[in-house]
Symmetry: C2
Subunit: 208 residues, 2 copies
């Protein structure tokens, strides 16, 4: 059974695991919380607190056993079944993510990519379908999570299509507030705001 973890802890556990996977093939490898903290740019106390929440405490002298830690994190944050994900209109970026999931024995799998244009992403292992097939494919492939990256004017309409087809979680890149039922878990990412933030904070060469 999965513990009831805070959102930020789940995010950090996901990041710890990703960092640890780079070391998994070392024999009997151990890592100290302060080293893990350094990789993730946080502090050791945070790392220890997060790991306490999933019932893992380190050895005072050796730190944490890396393969045990990967296993415990997976038990804590992964579901029992493989979870299918689809991308709606994102291209290259979707391919990157699906390759990562495929290469790491992840419980997430990118099962479909829906596209607007006639341009099917090249070299992709993920089956691609035109947007018109959303409802059919999502039901057929038992997909619960969608990454929504479509132009603003289509975002609301397509989000309703997704929800009606059975999607329960949406990663929303459309910069539009989606009106979906409360039981749908939506995580928003607002690229426009992030770009305006970068433009504000970056240094400019030779300009005032």
């Amino acid at each position: 059974m999965r513990p009831n973890l805070p959102e930020k802890t789940v995010e950090r556990l996901s990041q710890y695991r990703r960092a640890l996977l780079n070391y998994q093939f070392l024999d009997h490898a151990w890592i100290y919380s302060h080293n893990l903290a350094r990789i993730l740019k946080t502090n050791a106390a945070n790392v220890r607190r997060d790991l306490m929440l999933i019932g893992v405490s380190g050895d005072v002298h050796k730190g944490y056993d890396i393969s045990m830690l990967i296993e415990k994190i997976s038990e804590a944050i992964d579901g029992t079944f493989t979870e299918n994900v689809c991308f709606v209109g994102i291209g290259e970026l979707g391919r990157t993510v699906s390759e990562y999931f495929a290469s790491t024995d992840s419980k997430l799998k990118v099962a479909a990519h829906f596209y607007f244009d006639e341009h099917i992403p090249a070299r992709s292992e993920v089956p691609s379908y035109p947007i018109a097939k959303i409802s059919e494919v999502i039901k057929q492939e038992d997909i619960l999570i969608a990454v929504l990256a479509v132009p603003r004017e289509f975002a609301r309409e397509i989000s309703l299509l997704l929800v009606n087809a059975g999607i329960m979680g949406i990663l929303n890149f459309s910069s539009v507030h989606l009106q979906v039922p409360k039981h749908i878990y939506v995580e928003n990412y607002d690229m426009i705001t992030k770009l305006e933030k970068i433009a504000y904070f970056m240094k400019r060469p030779g300009k005032k």
Copy 2:
């Protein structure tokens, strides 16, 4: 001159402006902080504090003059010059963002899209170039901001190409920690972690 604002304030000001732009063509339109707060799902005190930081306070009876507010936010967070942005490997999503900037008299402009495959995005107004042309085009078009959305194995190499060509701000979607000089402003987005978070928190129909 732009005030020295906290990161979160800049993000929220960008979001306030985006919401207000929907109302800009009303004559003499005013908005209360609690209404603006409701649109952005925050509270009125936060809105008033953010606006105080850019020297704007509302009328007790009428709230804020919408067109004045848009103008003041733009003065506070926009630069003097148009800032060019490029996308490296993102497809559809880049088009969405570039259309928004083009349609709203923004100080940001998507000036180039670099692609890996032979698939040039259809219907795009943004000039597209193969990855090999990064250095040349960035210098030529005076681009300072890049959205980096390439497969993990290319991320570090391409980020160095970008920096050497003069990029000062990077929105990094590659889920890889970039090693760039300190004066480069990097904003990271980790899609893999967000998907693992959604899989953890979403409700599952009929599964335990």
